[in-house]
Structure formats: C-alpha cells, structure tokens
C-alpha cells in the first residue's frame, strides 16, 4: 500500500473540568493508528471510550495533550495537533470532511445553501454549488419542497440527510463520519451507505463510528477497538 492519509502517534487527550473542582477525565492515552486511502476504519468500543473524542481530535476541534496527528494535505504530511488555526481551516476546506452526528443548523439559512457552502468556500461559483447541492439532496431523497427552507424545523432524519449532503458534496480525501444512519429509515440508510462506499471507491480514507453491526459489516474494511482507560492512579 501507499502512504497513509492519516497517521496518529501516541495521542493523549484528557479533559479537565475546572468547574467541577478540576476533575480530570483521561479519555485517550498513547493511541496510534493509520488509515490508508481506500480504507474505511470503524472505531468500536463501549460507550464513553472516546470514539467521538478521537474523531473530533482528527478534525482539529479537540487539541490533544500529547501525540501527533499527521494528515496528508496537498501532497505532504501536516501535523494537525501542532498546526496553526489557519492551516487547520485550509485542511478542513480541502482535505478533511466531517459528518457529525447531528446537523448544526445555521439559523435561517435554507437547506440547499447549507449544503452548498463547503463548495462555495472552495471557490466554486454560487450557481454551480447550488446545482450540486440540489443533486445531493435529490440523491438523499429529501423532498424538494424542503430545499428552500431552513432545517431548524426538520425531522431528525431530514436534518441528518442535509448533514450528509453537506459532508459528501466535496470529494474530500479524508472523511470522518459519526453515526451516519442513526436517524434514518432503511431506504435512506441504504443511500447514505452507498455514499460512503462511493467515497471509498474513489480512494478516500474514511474513519467512522457505526453502532449497527450490519452497517459496519457492509462499509468497514477494518476495525479499531477503543477500550476504557484504567483509572488513573
């Protein structure tokens, strides 16, 4: 195989809750993994072991206390853990897509504009971006009457489809996906999974959290197990 797209070495993340008397919650310790283009790595482990935490660290939202998160960005490895904010924004624009578990709606902005936004950030014309957004929303079966409405009042499944459309509209080389099918019916879940399969076929490196074993069986090529940390002495 070629170079990995993601290479994590010795990652440590703990949370200090200053408002709770400074309680410390170690979540990840000395974690290392790699993800190659064309792979879909499923993070598995009991609730609270840090699967979502790891995903957020891979997106640069959670800054780790130790370790490196190398990602292949424009042909070279860049360490997200020590990158400056503008580098992280550039990595998010061109290299890493993140489909979070829930859509964070932008107040009063219609669904199709939310979906089109990542393309516009990359310099695509507004018109072309909106056309691509409509195509994504159509593929995800979102009723056309909803495209021009802000998703704040949408059902969970409708919001999730807007979220998926936004996450897949750019062909990112690295994709982070948290529970893509949790609020979808079987037909729409199947469409979501086909998006993941397509991304993998075009050689994206994917890291995902899929609680449903059948989903994992279908899309994941490898699993990575997280275990609870032993209580810190």
């Amino acid at each position: 195989m070629s170079e990995p797209a993601v290479l994590v070495e010795g990652l440590a993340k703990e949370f200090t809750l200053h408002l709770q008397g400074g309680v410390r919650l170690p979540v990840l310790r000395d974690l290392s993994l790699s993800v190659f283009p064309g792979e879909c790595l499923a993070l598995v482990g009991p609730s609270g072991t840090g699967k979502s935490t790891l995903l957020r660290a891979l997106y640069g939202t959670y800054v780790p206390q130790a370790g490196r998160i190398h990602v292949l960005h424009r042909g070279r490895m860049v360490d997200l853990a020590s990158a400056d904010p503008r580098q992280i924004l550039s990595i998010r624009r061109d290299t890493i897509g993140h489909v979070s578990q829930f859509l964070r709606v932008i107040p009063r902005v219609p669904a199709r504009a939310i979906v089109a936004e990542p393309l516009i950030h990359r310099g695509e014309s507004r018109q072309a971006a909106l056309r691509a957004a409509d195509a994504m929303l159509a593929r995800l079966n979102l009723p056309e009457r909803l495209w021009h409405l802000p998703p704040a009042t949408f059902s969970g499944g409708e919001q999730q489809r807007v979220n998926l459309a936004r996450g897949f509209i750019v062909h990112y080389p690295i994709l982070l996906i948290d529970e893509p099918t949790a609020s979808l019916d079987p037909v729409n879940a199947d469409i979501a999974l086909s998006l993941i399969e397509d991304a993998r076929k075009r050689n994206a490196a994917i890291v995902g959290i899929f609680h449903d074993p059948a989903v994992r069986l279908r899309v994941a090529t490898r699993e990575f197990a997280l275990a609870p940390l032993a209580e810190a002495a």
């Binding site: 200053h18 408002l19 957020r56 939202t61 959670y62 800054v63 904010p85 503008r86 550039s90």
Partner: protein, 258 residues
C-alpha cells in the same frame, strides 16, 4: 499561506491609573478573517478595540497595519492626518450604540455620503447614487434617504451605521457589540445581514461580543478576555467545544446554545 497578516497586535497595554484595562494582548488578523473577542463586561474588550482604532492611546505595545496606501504602518506612532485618512477609508468602526456612529441631525443619505466625501468623493450625483445603493443593500427603504435617522428604529439605525462604514470599501472593520441592545428578532436580521456582507465583501473583522452564539455564527477564531488579558485563543469550535481555561469553561457553560 505565506500571505502576511493585515493587522498584528503585540504586547498591547492600556492603563487607566492603576487599572490595566488591556494587559499584554497580542494577536493577528489575516485578510478575510473574522476574529471574535469574547468575555464579560469589564473584561477590556471595548478598550482593546478602541485602542487598536486609535480612539485611545495605548500605554505600551505595537499595532502593525498593512495599508493599501502607505504600506506597513505602526499605528501607535502614526501622525494624526494619516491616521484619520486610514480611519475614513481603509478601516471602519461600528459602535454598539448607532447614535455614536451617526449624525442624528443629518439625513440618512447625508450620513452615508459624508463618509464618501471625507474619503475624497466630490460628485454629488454619484454620492447620492451610492448612498441609495447602500441603503438598499442594508435593507433600508431607499425612499427614506432624506429622513433623519432619529425617525428610524434601533435596528434601522444600526443598519444605517453599517452602510455608512462600508460605503468606502474598508478592509478592516472593528465592531463593538453590533447586535447588542436590539430585540432578538431585530438582532437575527442584523446578524444575517452581517454574515452576508462579510462573506460578499471579504472583510476582515474584529468583532467584540459577549454573545457566544454570535461568535459561533460569524467568527473563524475567538479570543477570550478576562481582566484585560487574553486567557485563551483558538478556532471557534476549539474554544467553544473544548474550552481549556477555567474562565472560558465558565462562559461556555453559562449559555444554553452556542
């Protein structure tokens, strides 16, 4: 990536007697970037903004600005005529209270036109046409062009102030709680307008707000201020989703949604 910052603040201090209102603040603003400064009232946000703009002389430190006209200039040492020229053309300041940024005894059109004239425009017809275009852009009915801002609602006055600032095409806009003091629905409309304008014009903005929701919506980066110091800085999602400093954690935990 190698493009230099538009503004570099280094070691800025503003003292009022024994009080360090701004204490050793350093940060950069890059072209097209919105940086939010958050913190409770009294934390020094407004003083920091006003000292960057030159309304207040800092006690120590440096503010380097890359000007279109003059190249690199050190704002704390700039002579008054050049500072004024920059303030009228390349920068803008949006006051929390629109009455501080408007002339209430002049018509709406004159308020917008005055800044154009201060920046060198002379042709009356063109000035009026630009004023009309900007009123429309900030969603003020152009037939109100000859009315006094006194007869406008708070939200309209704030939108007029924004038109007055943006009409000269500034590169850097300093905003002090632009949505403060407005009803929520009026705030929402103003926020939508700001979001659109900032994106369309590629503005660099330093935005002072105590509203983390506003920061989430508009800013790429956040600085958290407490007692005059920047206690935490980072990408908006880093600071709001995983605040590190006890004071940032307190701020984030105090709001319902951000």
């Amino acid at each position: 990536m190698t493009e230099p910052p538009l503004l570099s603040v280094r070691g800025l201090d503003v003292r009022f007697g024994a009080l360090a209102a701004v204490d050793d603040v350093s940060f950069d603003v890059w072209p097209g970037e919105v940086v939010a400064i958050v913190g409770e009232s009294g934390s020094g946000k407004t003083t920091l903004l006003r000292s960057i703009h030159g309304f207040i002389r800092p006690t120590a430190g440096s503010v380097l600005y890359r000007s279109d006209r003059f190249g690199e200039v050190e704002l704390t040492m700039l002579d008054e005529p050049r500072r004024r020229l920059l303030a009228r053309t390349e920068w803008g300041f949006v006051h929390q209270n629109p009455r501080d940024g408007l002339r209430l005894s002049h018509s709406a059109g004159a308020n917008v036109g005055e800044r154009l004239m201060a920046a060198g425009a002379r042709h009356w017809g063109k000035i009026r046409a630009q004023a009309l275009a900007w009123l429309d852009r900030v969603e003020i009915d152009p037939t109100r062009i000859d009315d006094l801002p006194r007869t406008f609602s708070g939200g309209m006055q704030q939108r007029l102030q924004i038109a007055r600032v943006l009409v000269t095409n500034p590169r850097l806009v300093l905003m002090d709680e632009p949505t403060g003091g407005l009803d929520v629905s009026v705030q929402a409309r103003l926020l939508d307008l700001l979001r659109r304008l900032v994106a369309d014009l590629g503005l660099s903005v330093i935005l002072v707000t105590h509203d983390l929701g506003v920061a989430r919506l508009l800013a790429q980066r956040i600085l958290v201020m407490q007692r005059g110091r920047v206690v935490e800085a980072g990408l908006t999602d880093q600071v709001l989703d995983d605040p590190q400093h006890p004071y940032s954690q307190l701020l984030v935990s105090s709001v319902l949604f951000a």
